[in-house]
């Protein structure tokens, strides 16, 4: 019996060592929690800052769109028929008559082109999404997709 208690005493730790272990574990957990909290706070703060910037840019974008529309109208006014005619008259021009015009054939010239304000609808080729799913889906969504449709390989999702 004495032997047992001697062995137990020999291998058991001193009370101060046990306290240190408890404190150590507590501090470790605390540090981990603090680190996680600081990462969370940092990311949240950055997201909030970026969110505010997005809101600000949106307002700026709206203001710029208004300015652009206004400037386009101003340019159109400055290039209006009445303004151009007045300027032409000031410079000594007058409308040509049929007798004053000499016509020459220019190969390939088909007259003034029609307005092309934007890309013709039928010539749109790319229908691929701007962002691949790999950039937007979460890991869980990706895993679910892989489990549901294992035949789709990673290579298939490349553009």
């Amino acid at each position: 019996m004495d032997n047992v208690s001697q062995i137990t005493q020999a291998y058991s730790q001193a009370p101060w060592r046990k306290q240190l272990q408890v404190i150590g574990i507590f501090l470790s957990v605390l540090i981990i929690l603090l680190m996680a909290a600081s990462v969370f706070v940092s990311i949240t703060a950055r997201a909030a800052t970026l969110g505010r910037e997005i809101q600000r840019y949106r307002l700026e974008n709206e203001d710029l769109e208004y300015e652009i529309a206004n400037l386009r109208s101003e340019v159109a006014t400055l290039n209006s028929v009445s303004v151009l005619q007045a300027r032409a008259l000031e410079l000594g021009f007058r409308p040509a008559t049929t007798e004053e015009i000499t016509y020459i054939r220019v190969t390939g010239y088909t007259g003034k082109p029609k307005a092309s304000i934007a890309t013709p609808a039928q010539t749109v080729v790319s229908t691929a999404p701007v962002l691949l799913p790999a950039f937007t889906q979460s890991w869980v969504e990706w895993l679910t997709e892989q489990l549901q449709n294992p035949a789709v390989s990673v290579a298939d999702s490349r553009p």
């Binding site: 949240t44 997201a47 909030a48 800052t49 970026l50 969110g51 505010r52 997005i54 809101q55 949106r58 709206e62 203001d63 769109e65 208004y66 300015e67 529309a69 206004n70 386009r72 109208s73 101003e74 159109a76 006014t77 290039n79 209006s80 028929v81 009445s82 005619q85 409308p95 040509a96 008559t97 049929t98 015009i101 016509y103 054939r105 007259g111 003034k112 082109p113 029609k114 307005a115 092309s116 304000i117 934007a118 890309t119 013709p120 609808a121 749109v124």
Partner: protein, 585 residues
């Protein structure tokens, strides 16, 4: 551990435990206590902001991309009573820069929140760009440098805090009154009236909505997108439009007409290149609308109904030639009168023109001859079948609001009489629009194919351009008939030495003078196209109630000459001789 240390540790522990318990109890209190509901309300209401998604109205361009209607920046100047610091400054600034009444603004800005339900008071909705920018600069200057702002008579520092200057877009028409009858206009309250603005409002207006948007920056990406209006491109050519309006205005003045219209169309496609109409308003002066267009006067004469008179003889002759009941050289003896249904049809001069061919019937515009063709050769069934095939009494569905469909009494209508057949043959007792006439007669200029007139060339939406093309409305006559009649009409003008002729260019055309019921005045019209061997333009002219002379040959034919003289230059059409020699190379 000695006693003093133990005390320190216990005290520290107690403080931390107390603080922890306080935090936990506060959390529990917030979650389930009486403040719970008010916080939820705060999130639901104050966490949201009402945003007016005000879309930009789509621009309108001519066929070459020149802007006819766009948007200009204007500002709403208002008072936010919650934030007003110095009513005196607001009253001074708005009276100095916007011309508002000082006392009125001062009274409004001085209102206490408990005296009114209002929080937002609009002072002016249409402040121009420059005035608004000056006010904004002043507001910022007072805000950034209050030390320089000075104090008012109320001993408060000058401040424009509480004065809001909010930008928004308003319709603008850079070309002024040009094509105003085609464009229509948008009133200050946003209502679109007449023309393309009204007809295509659903395309141009975009989607306006008021949405509650979260102010939470984490939800910034969830802000709704504003759906702006689509831009549209018209088939109009700005230069042609301007020239037509100039010519119309000049002839309105010289002829003393009350109203009128000139339409230019490409007969091969139905594209409308110019639609001039008189009277015409400056689109930025909407208050002129009611005075200019009082009574039943149409906003756009090109789509208004009237009795066309002798220009309709082109339709009667086309029907008769196509049905094979007459030929260009078919003889007719004009005795100066044709009895029909108890009435007698007379010529425009009341005279008898003796032996005639179908070509000279057109050349001299003989009512008796055309009434004879309709009653004796075609008969009501064939005549009205052709009118149906030429789509009379059917709107052209051009993209212009409030188009009149016309009025024709067909032979199976209960109120139809045989005399209607005779009078209809020379364009009386029938109501058509100039645009309907142009559509019908395009068959003669275009190998028998009648083209649908259209003005919408393309729509630009979501950064893509959707273009529209020509549409054949039908083929009421054969190509051979069309060629024969074109030749007859060209010869008629040449033999008559018409004032419509333009040196170097062979054109076909027909005048029309219609008496107005219960009036000594007339409607003078002209339809023509050219060059005859390769028609590239087709023109319809209508002068309402000319007073200088009632005859279209004297008042409308010269308009055609002036129009063609300008058109051939603007459309790069060489004289026939040059063109044919170039084509032969």
């Amino acid at each position: 551990m000695n006693t003093s240390n133990r005390f320190r540790y216990v005290s520290m522990g107690a403080v931390f435990i107390f603080a922890g318990l306080a935090i936990v109890s506060r959390l529990i209190h917030i979650q389930i206590g009486p403040t719970h509901e008010s916080i939820q309300t705060f999130e639901a209401v104050d966490g949201l902001q009402l945003v007016n998604l005000d879309p930009a109205r789509g621009n309108i361009y001519d066929r070459h991309g020149r802007m006819l209607a766009g948007n200009q920046l204007i500002y709403e100047v208002a008072i936010e009573l919650n934030y007003v610091r110095n009513p005196e400054t607001i009253a001074w600034a708005t009276s100095a820069y916007l011309g508002l009444d000082y006392n009125e603004v001062f009274a409004l800005a001085s209102l206490k929140l408990d005296e009114t339900d209002l929080r937002h008071i609009t002072l002016s909705n249409f402040v121009p760009y420059d005035a608004a920018k000056t006010l904004l600069a002043l507001k910022l200057d007072f805000f950034d440098h209050p030390e320089n702002a000075g104090v008012g008579s109320n001993n408060k520092i000058h401040s424009l805090v509480g004065l809001t200057i909010t930008p928004r877009l308003d319709r603008s028409y850079p070309e002024g009154p040009l094509a105003s009858n085609v464009l229509g206009f948008v009133m200050k309250d946003g209502t679109s009236i007449h023309g393309v603005e009204e007809e295509l409002h659903w395309l141009l207006s975009g989607v306006e909505k008021l949405e509650a948007v979260s102010t939470d920056p984490h939800l910034a990406m969830e802000l709704p997108e504003t759906i702006h209006g689509a831009d549209i491109v018209l088939t109009l050519d700005r230069e042609i439009q301007s020239a037509m309006e100039e010519i119309l205005d000049a002839h309105m003045a010289s002829s003393g007409s009350t109203s009128g219209s000139i339409i230019v169309m490409d007969p091969r496609s139905g594209e409308l290149l110019g639609i001039a109409s008189y009277p015409r308003m400056d689109l930025s002066a909407e208050w002129d609308f009611e005075t200019l267009f009082e009574g039943n006067l149409a906003f756009n004469m090109a789509i208004d109904g009237y009795e066309p008179g002798s220009v309709f003889k082109v339709i009667t002759m086309a029907s008769a030639l196509d049905a094979g009941v007459v030929e260009p050289n078919t003889e007719f003896i004009d005795t100066g009168g044709l009895p029909v249904d108890g009435w007698t049809i007379h010529n425009w001069d009341g005279g008898a023109w003796g032996p005639q061919t179908m070509t000279t019937c057109l050349q001299h515009s003989l009512n008796v001859c055309l009434a004879w063709i309709a009653t004796e050769r075609l008969g009501p069934t064939l005549f009205y079948q052709y009118l149906h095939d030429f789509h009379f009494k059917q709107p052209t569905n051009v993209e212009l609001a409030r188009e009149y469909a016309g009025n024709v009494r067909f032979h199976n209508d209960p109120d139809w009489h045989l005399i209607d057949l005779a009078t209809n043959s020379y364009g009386q007792g029938i109501e058509v629009t100039p645009l309907q006439m142009l559509r019908a007669i395009s068959a003669v200029a275009n190998d028998g194919k009648m083209m649908t007139p259209y003005i919408l060339q393309a729509v630009v939406d979501d950064e893509h351009q959707y273009s529209f093309g020509p549409e054949v409305a039908g083929q009421p006559i054969s190509a051979a008939t069309a060629h024969t009649l074109s030749e007859m009409l060209a010869t008629s003008l040449e033999k008559e030495a018409s004032t419509s002729l333009v040196p170097g260019y062979r054109v076909a055309g027909k005048t029309g003078t219609a008496t107005i019921y219960n009036s000594s005045l007339t409607n003078a019209s002209f339809v023509g196209w050219g060059p005859v061997d390769d028609p590239q333009f087709m023109v319809y002219i209508w002068l309402n109630k000319p007073t200088s002379t009632p005859w279209a040959s004297l008042v409308a034919a010269p308009v055609f000459r002036d129009v063609v003289s300008r058109l051939v230059v603007l459309m790069d059409i060489p004289p026939d001789e040059v063109r044919l020699s170039m084509n032969a190379e």
